[in-house]
């Protein structure tokens, strides 16, 4: 069978530096002394913690439940005791903390009861839920929850399922080794995806600099009697980008505004297929992954590491050389420097590169852009990076959007070729996050405006209603003529102001004459009656979104114990404080 290959424009060919780490087979990393498992390890909602400090957990026990459909569960990587559920520095370029579960392993590595299932007997919906609860996410680096990608579009027939084994970033070899050593499970996982999506063809794309992996995958496909096409694609960064690989294998171009299923194609990483298979057929959730440890280390190789292993403990396995001055997570094109040696390895960590001044020499100073257009030639999405740069630098974000900044996949090709050594990607990320922030502000302003206008409307209505009520009351008590309805606002003020003043000792400015006092008492009485009516009914709870209602419910829940304890004013127990922190 001859597969026609397509080309994508742009791309670069940096030194691959892959041979260093493929010499040794995958090794299982020893149990670390402590595991730090961030709860937010996928795109989408942050899972809620399901364990409390002091609790004993088993290997594979769910410690964070998926929050919504686009979210994915998190599990204890080994058995042990939960030391804390708190904010710890995240493997994120910001170096900011994220809510994590800290587990002290007990060394017994005791599994939960694993229940392998025959997925063919189950409804596809159930399988997707299983995958979500097993924490299966895209392991290529994007960590998008896989179950959410496993539904075909209702209108477009699913034509191709693309399996991404290209691994185009320099230095990274974890998928290569996985395909070499565990090809059959990968292929079975692909079979699982195929059964869920029912595409016409399955194409497994592997860059042609990995002949061993191609051979192993071909053998496995044959051994399992599948009809998947294993295709060697030309080595050119970023051929392993999902959109680029889809383009190369199928000729389809997925625009930024569309999902690939709308074009009848879907793409998964080989490691994702592997973990999906382990989850379904062996009942093992995603608690470990294969990570390449390479760069400036004495022993570069691939390790199967538990999620949550701190960076420092992991890199010690490779014996970093003396002049190592930092660690990159991911490849040298798109990766970032780990903010701290305490930051844990997560599902997105495919590679750790020890850096040194000789390996990544400091950059020559940035020069002005001369608009030479090299970046436009290298851009795989055919953007005009120099124009984007020009406007991003001037903070003209509207223009950057006109030049399709959100089509940028931040692959780094433009920065790689730039003769002026401009950190282009950095400018684009800056512009993107500014635009997002603005979007958030705009949404907040719109909500605020809508609520403000609604409130004004309601105030007017209430005022009208109150006036009507008072008029009626006045008519009924026609005898007491002098009790003219007082204006609503001061009455309310007086009614509540008095007890408040008595309570809190605030200055009660009440130099009222007898007439006013009388009026105030009447108003207060009316107010009291109204309050009694409304006492149990919280205000302003109409027109809330479910999220807001949830927030309110949380607040009420928090308030209940407080209210009970208020007379004593005792400090809430420590667990409560922790709980509170989590809720925020």
């Amino acid at each position: 069978m001859l597969q026609r290959l397509f080309k994508f424009k742009g791309g670069v060919k940096p030194q691959t530096n892959k041979t260093q780490s493929v010499g040794l087979p995958i090794a299982v990393a020893p149990l670390p002394t402590r595991l730090i498992v961030p709860l937010h390890q996928s795109i989408g909602g942050t899972p809620d913690p399901l364990v409390a400090p002091g609790e004993r957990v088993l290997k594979g026990q769910k410690i964070g439940g998926a929050d919504g459909w686009i979210s994915s569960a998190v599990h204890a990587p080994t058995s042990g005791t939960v030391l804390a559920v708190e904010e710890r520095v995240a493997p994120h370029p910001s170096g900011l903390p994220t809510l994590s579960v800290i587990i002290e392993p007990d060394g017994r590595d005791e599994w939960i009861t694993r229940t392998p299932v025959d997925y063919k007997a189950l409804a596809p919906e159930t399988v997707r839920e299983m995958l979500r609860d097993a924490g299966v996410v895209g392991l290529g680096g994007a960590v998008f929850p896989s179950h959410a990608k496993l539904s075909a579009s209702k209108t477009v027939p699913m034509e191709e399922l693309v399996i991404n084994g290209a691994e185009c970033e320099p230095y990274i070899t974890c998928d290569d080794l996985l395909m070499r050593e565990r090809a059959e499970d990968v292929v079975r996982g692909v079979g699982l995806f195929r059964d869920l999506l029912r595409p016409k063809r399955v194409l497994i794309g592997i860059e042609d600099n990995k002949p061993e992996a191609v051979a192993a995958m071909k053998r496995a496909v044959q051994a399992l009697g599948e009809d998947f096409a294993v295709i060697a694609v030309p080595t050119r960064y970023p051929a392993g980008g999902a959109k680029q690989l889809i383009r190369v294998l199928t000729g389809k171009e997925v625009p930024a505004a569309k999902r690939s299923t709308e074009l009848g194609v879907q793409c998964f990483n080989v490691a994702t297929a592997y973990t999906a298979w382990r989850a379904v057929a062996h009942g093992e959730p995603v608690i470990s992954r294969i990570v390449t440890l390479t760069g400036n280390v004495a022993q570069p190789r691939n390790w199967e590491v538990l999620i949550g292993t701190p960076l420092a403990e992991f890199v010690a396995l490779g014996q970093p050389k003396a002049d190592t001055d930092g660690y990159l997570m991911g490849g040298p094109m798109m990766g970032f420097e780990m903010p701290s040696p305490d930051a844990p390895l997560v599902k997105a960590t495919n590679c750790i590169i020890a850096g040194s001044p000789t390996l990544f020499p400091p950059k020559a100073p940035e020069m002005p852009c001369i608009r030479c257009g090299e970046c436009a030639k290298a851009c795989p999405h055919e953007l005009q990076p120099f124009e984007l740069y020009w406007f991003a630098r001037a903070k003209n974000f509207g223009k950057t959007q006109e030049y399709s900044i959100f089509d940028c996949i931040e692959c780094g090709c433009c920065s790689y070729v730039c003769p002026s050594r401009i950190p282009l990607v950095q400018y684009f990320r800056f512009a993107k996050s500014e635009i997002w922030a603005r979007e958030r502000e705009k949404n907040a302003a719109d909500t605020a405006k809508a609520r403000f206008e609604f409130r004004n409307l309601r105030d007017e209505r209430e005022k009208a209603e109150k006036a009507e009520r008072l008029a009626k009351a006045a008519a009924a008590k026609a005898a007491e003529k002098k009790a003219e309805p007082a204006p609503a606002a001061p009455a309310a003020d007086a009614g509540i102001g008095a007890p408040a003043a008595a309570d809190g000792g605030a200055p009660a400015a009440a130099p009222l004459d007898a007439e006013a006092v009388k009026k105030a008492t009447i108003a207060a009485a009316i107010e009291r009656a109204r309050q009694q009516r409304e006492a149990v009914q919280p205000k302003n709870t109409d027109r809330l979104t479910p999220a807001q209602q949830k927030e309110i419910a949380e607040i009420e829940a928090r308030r209940a114990p407080l209210q009970a304890e208020q007379p004593e004013r005792s400090a809430p127990p420590a667990t409560d404080a922790a709980q509170e922190q989590q809720n925020q």
């Binding site: 383009r247 001055d325 094109m333 608009r371 257009g373 780094g412 950095q426």
Partner: protein, 340 residues
Amino acid sequence: MMDFTTPPYLLKTASVQRVMLQVLAALLPGIAAYIWLIGPIVLVQLAIATLAALAAEAAMLKLRDKPLGLFLGDGSAVVTAWLIALTFPPLAPWWLLVVGVLFAIVVAKHLYGGLGQNPFNPAMIAFAVCIVSFPALMSQWPALGLKTSFGEQIDIVFGLAARVDAMTGATPLDAIKTALKLGEGAVDVPALLANQDIFGNFAGRGWEWVAAGYLIGGLWLWKRGIVSWHAPLGFIGGITLLAGALWLWNPAQFAGPLFHLFSGGAMLGAFFIVTDPVSGCTTPKGKFVFGFAAGLLAYVIRVFGGYPDGVAFAVLLVNICVPLIDMYTQPPIFGMKNEK
């Protein structure tokens, strides 16, 4: 410490300086032919321009508080200086060159923020400013076949000897234009050209060899990938189209495309001026449109307008249109090709 903020951590070894050096190298064949035609005074002019450019650049960098070493070494000022020296008449007084260079570097380049930010081609600004301000000096080209020694040339350039009208004369382009304007259509261009011709066959007086030198350098640049084919081809196409049409219509009155391509600043313009990435268009289609429009305008101005050559004005006029051309020639991006 590694550079935390700026992935990718791998970079190709390319630099602005290298680009500029290659442009300078590509000018050498043309310069060699020019020296053969005019004499070593060309080198003196190049040196004057270079020195003035570097001094102006250094002063501006100093004023703007930018690192001297980094920017002086980038070579962009030298490229501008050489282009100015090669477009000005070779016997122009030294101060004329200096004025042009100063205007180019200070006003056209640094007031806009220096390297990479200037919307106009600095060298062409220099030419336009000088030809508007000193039309006589800028139109005096070495006279036909009159051999002057290097010493005499030096004396003229540095104002030690009086400018002798006999030593300077009109270029072939000028001659044709003058004849055209005076003769009211009754000129015989082929005869005129035949009379003018000393070394060359089609563009007069050996200027064609200089142009051929630029052509060779330009092709080399194209082969190196420094310039794309779009702008030069557009420029040559623009001139050829208009010149060819008029020549076919009335060969007695209008010179042919070959003459126009190999005279004046056409070849220099095609490969070294309309290809300037900073002030030119950047999209492939835009580059072609840019070159084509510049070619048409250059022809119109040099044949019908009031100045001896139209390349400088044509380039400046199209420079004005660059943002709009770029805007309307944006290539479709990945995934959007069928959505037009």
